[in-house]
């Protein structure tokens, strides 16, 4: 890498790579927004980036870089070598505007990325800092794109009709003149497919799961964290081990047992089984938190004549409320998103949870946008909850929940 430590090499190379990134991102963004072709061209992008990077390294001023980028972008467009090749749908004005936008998207960040790059020899420091700034910019775009695009597709597909989808799969523009008819899929899911009922079932199953899980795991976690007894270490390892047993291995005998006892197809059976799948997780998370609480407070309580159970109730639990919230949220998320058990144990459409209901939409007779609308209905509540209580959620996740 030593030979790259020269401004006249590093500047243009990083510039060219950045222009390529921007051309692809802009092309994808334009395609997704308008449904018309905007193809990034490698050669044009490289030329634009080389010129801009060189201008920045050589001239060293912002305005020169910006001007060079705009001029080169427009020149390439006129020559038909532009970094973005537009389809027929774009008029001349649109092409010029988009070329200038592309030039800006290349030049403005490059001004920052190549801040310390001059034309001559570079120190290792300057070079690596520029590479890191390039990678950072690339990373933000990359991650935002991979996260946003699927959710964007999910929401937009749910508002389109089957025909529109087949006609141009890229066209996600929304015809606002349709007004409330955009939400036809949702309306139909709620009325004809009973999604209202599934929402309610999923909700109360999840809440019950949270309550039952906490009820069982709080005493257990306290015992493992605080009390001394033979077998404590084995026990806390056992929790982790159970936490690792694959669900499908358990689901098979549970299916058999439920078939024999007649608990299949009942919400009661689901409410019985969900907490057990979450108790090990909750135990593991809670005991970690209880360990972190100061022992002295509890000992003071004991000295003042409280019994152990009173200590738990009056001292430990109030102190652990944030942890309970985190664990509760996490368990709620697991129960809300649970699919395998619901899929295996529920066959009767009147008892479906939301995830099971969505699975039943996956057939060739039901249009795609219904499936996507179902996905949106399942995703929105958990997302809202997550964004509203993000602090608790991230804490809950890092508190030992590496399970997926």
């Amino acid at each position: 890498m030593k030979f790259l430590h020269k401004g006249y090499l590093a500047g243009p190379i990083i510039g060219a790579l950045w222009a390529l990134v921007m051309a692809v991102s802009l092309g994808v963004a334009i395609s997704f927004a308008t449904g018309h072709a905007a193809r990034p061209a490698v050669f044009g992008a490289l030329l634009l980036g080389l010129a801009t990077g060189l201008a920045r390294a050589w001239g060293g001023t912002r305005w020169l870089t910006d001007v060079v980028a705009v001029v080169v972008a427009l020149a390439l467009m006129v020559l038909g070598l532009g970094a973005l090749q537009f389809g027929q749908a774009f008029g001349l004005e649109a092409r010029i505007v988009l070329s200038i936008v592309l030039a800006g998207a290349v030049a403005l960040p490059l001004n920052v990325i190549l801040r310390e790059i001059q034309i001559g020899a570079l120190t290792r420091h300057e070079f690596e800092a520029a590479v890191i700034r390039f990678l950072t910019g690339f990373g933000y775009i990359f991650f935002t794109a991979i996260v946003i695009i699927p959710f964007y597709v999910m929401v937009m597909t749910s508002m389109k009709s089957q025909q529109e989808l087949m006609l141009n799969p890229l066209d996600f523009s929304i015809d606002l003149s349709k007004g409330w008819h955009l939400f036809d899929s949702y309306y139909e899911l709620m009325t004809r497919f009973h999604f209202g009922r599934y929402l309610w079932t999923s909700f109360y199953v999840s809440v019950l799961t949270v309550l039952l899980t906490l009820l069982f795991s709080v005493p257990g976690a306290y015992a493992v964290a605080r009390l001394r007894f033979a077998g404590r270490k084995v026990f806390s390892r056992g929790i982790l081990l159970i936490y690792m047993v694959p669900m499908i291995v358990l689901a098979l005998p549970i299916y058999i047992a439920y078939s024999m006892v007649g608990l299949r197809n009942s919400v009661f059976g689901i409410v019985m089984i969900y907490p057990v799948t979450t108790i090990p997780v909750a135990l593991y998370m809670l005991q970690g938190y209880f360990r972190g609480l100061p022992v002295e407070v509890e000992e003071a309580g004991l000295m003042d004549g409280l019994s152990r159970l009173k200590v738990i109730w009056k001292i430990t639990l109030p102190l652990a409320l944030p942890a309970l919230a985190s664990v509760g949220l996490y368990v709620f998320m697991i129960a809300w998103n649970e699919f395998l058990l619901a899929f295996m144990l529920l066959d009767d459409p009147s008892k479906f949870t939301l995830t099971r209901g969505i699975a039943s939409l996956n057939s060739s007779e039901i249009p795609r946008q219904h499936l996507m609308a179902g996905a949106v209905i399942a995703t929105v509540p958990i997302m809202a909850l997550f964004l509203g209580l993000e602090r608790f959620m991230t804490r809950g996740l890092t508190a030992g929940a590496v399970k997926g």
Partner: protein, 411 residues
């Protein structure tokens, strides 16, 4: 003089504490044992049994009683059926109280006895597919129609059991023999390893990259952090179907985009073509679980002492040097723990592949195979055999895990 020594054994207080501990733990232990340990034992039991899906509801003795008033003399007819095609039914019998007005006069079938109006029979063992009729002469007093209905509705208590494959003492190693004999198993195992290794490593590396991006203070850092967690928080079924929609060969946007950009000429069947489908499910796994590694790595990064970096700056270390020689050693602990945990859970993963491809197009992993064998082929025993293999692998992994875990302490 008495020797002074620390107390031996446990005192009353310690015993009381232990008792309380077990008391608090008992409900948890009981319920976890019921729903985790018992099924695990059951899996081992079932894996050596020739059980198919149909055997879950064992056959029961079918009996019917009716009165024929029009024949002369009137007859009570008993039908006894063993619906099982293969199995003998043992200790069969029935009991019924005849309505008043019907008096049996004819010969009772063998094994039957009449006390007052109550007829009870013992048929002993019935061969498979037995279907017998017994006709008994009777005297009828009263309206024929009403009595016919009364007899038909009379409460008939029948008993008899076929030996249940789940509980009898037939054992077989066929499930395992079949599992390992075909070349299929090693193919499935290979797919599982590919998925697990690359899924885990990918999620870890992508997560590390994301954590490096967000490990600085700027406006909007919180929003981005929340945003990057979306794939993990959303229900798997929602995102899996979105991916299927996005990559659909006919109406998928990804294909349209690729064609338009000139990357490919025609539609690519992402989840249906052989090597590509496996790569796609692995990419999905990385996409869905990078947030988790990112969160953990970020938490660890933020707890690294900044003094170290200041010292390195004074010594003139470059950014990459700081990353390699300062950050990475600090992160090694969390990375190795994360790797092992994610490795185990990716190995155990079922939902994702099941939803994306259903295990077709060369994406069948061991866990999907459990489901396939048990429900698609409806051979529960074979499914359980695969589950036992999965569990065995898990035990091996967890030994590694606990070794690393006790070295790294905490997480």
């Amino acid at each position: 003089m008495t020797e002074i020594s620390p107390p031996k054994g446990s005192g009353a207080l310690a015993r009381r504490e232990a008792r309380l501990a077990w008391g608090l733990l008992f409900p948890t232990i009981a319920i976890v044992a019921l729903v985790v340990i018992v099924p695990l034992l059951a899996i081992f039991w079932i894996s050596v049994k020739p059980v198919s899906l149909g055997d879950l509801r064992p056959a029961e003795l079918r009996t019917r009683i009716s009165l024929n008033d029009r024949s002369d003399p009137p007859q009570v007819e008993l039908r006894v059926i063993n619906p099982s095609r293969e199995q003998e039914m043992r200790d069969t019998g029935l009991a019924v109280t005849l309505p008043d007005g019907v008096v049996l006069t004819g010969d009772l079938p063998q094994g039957c006895a009449l006390t007052g109006q109550r007829l009870s029979c013992d048929f002993g063992d019935l061969k498979p597919r037995t279907n017998e009729r017994f006709r008994i002469d009777a005297q009828v007093s009263g309206e024929g129609r009403t009595l016919e209905r009364a007899v038909r509705d009379a409460k008939l208590v029948s008993r008899g059991q076929v030996s249940n494959v789940l509980t009898n003492s037939t054992f077989t190693l066929d499930n395992f023999r079949k599992l390992f004999s075909g070349g299929e198993f090693w193919g499935v195992f290979g797919v599982t390893l590919f998925y697990t290794v690359f899924g885990t490593l990918g999620a870890l590396l992508v997560g590390l990259f994301a954590a490096l991006l967000l490990n600085k203070d700027f406006r909007g850092q919180g929003i981005l952090r929340g945003l990057y967690l979306f794939p993990y928080v959303a229900p798997v079924i929602a995102v899996a179907f979105t991916w299927i929609t996005l990559f659909d060969p006919y109406s998928g946007s990804a294909n349209a985009l690729l064609v338009q950009m000139g990357v490919s000429d025609g539609a690519i069947n992402f989840f249906g073509a052989k090597p590509l489908a496996l790569i796609m499910v692995t990419v999905f796994e990385i996409w869905r679980y990078f947030p988790l590694s990112f969160l953990f790595i970020l938490a660890r990064m933020q707890s690294i002492d900044t003094d170290m970096y200041e010292a390195a700056d004074m010594d003139g270390a470059s950014p990459f040097q700081k990353f390699w020689h300062l950050s990475m050693p600090q992160l090694m602990g969390i990375l190795s723990v994360l790797f092992l945990l994610r490795f185990i859970w990716t190995f155990n993963k079922f939902d994702d592949i099941f939803l994306l491809t259903g295990g077709n197009a060369g994406t069948r992993t061991l866990t999907v195979n459990v489901y396939e064998q048990a429900f698609a082929v409806s051979n529960i025993g074979a499914g359980a055999a695969v589950a036992v293999v999965v569990f065995g692998c898990l035990l091996i992994f967890s030994i590694f895990f606990f070794r690393t875990m006790s070295r790294e302490e905490g997480l």
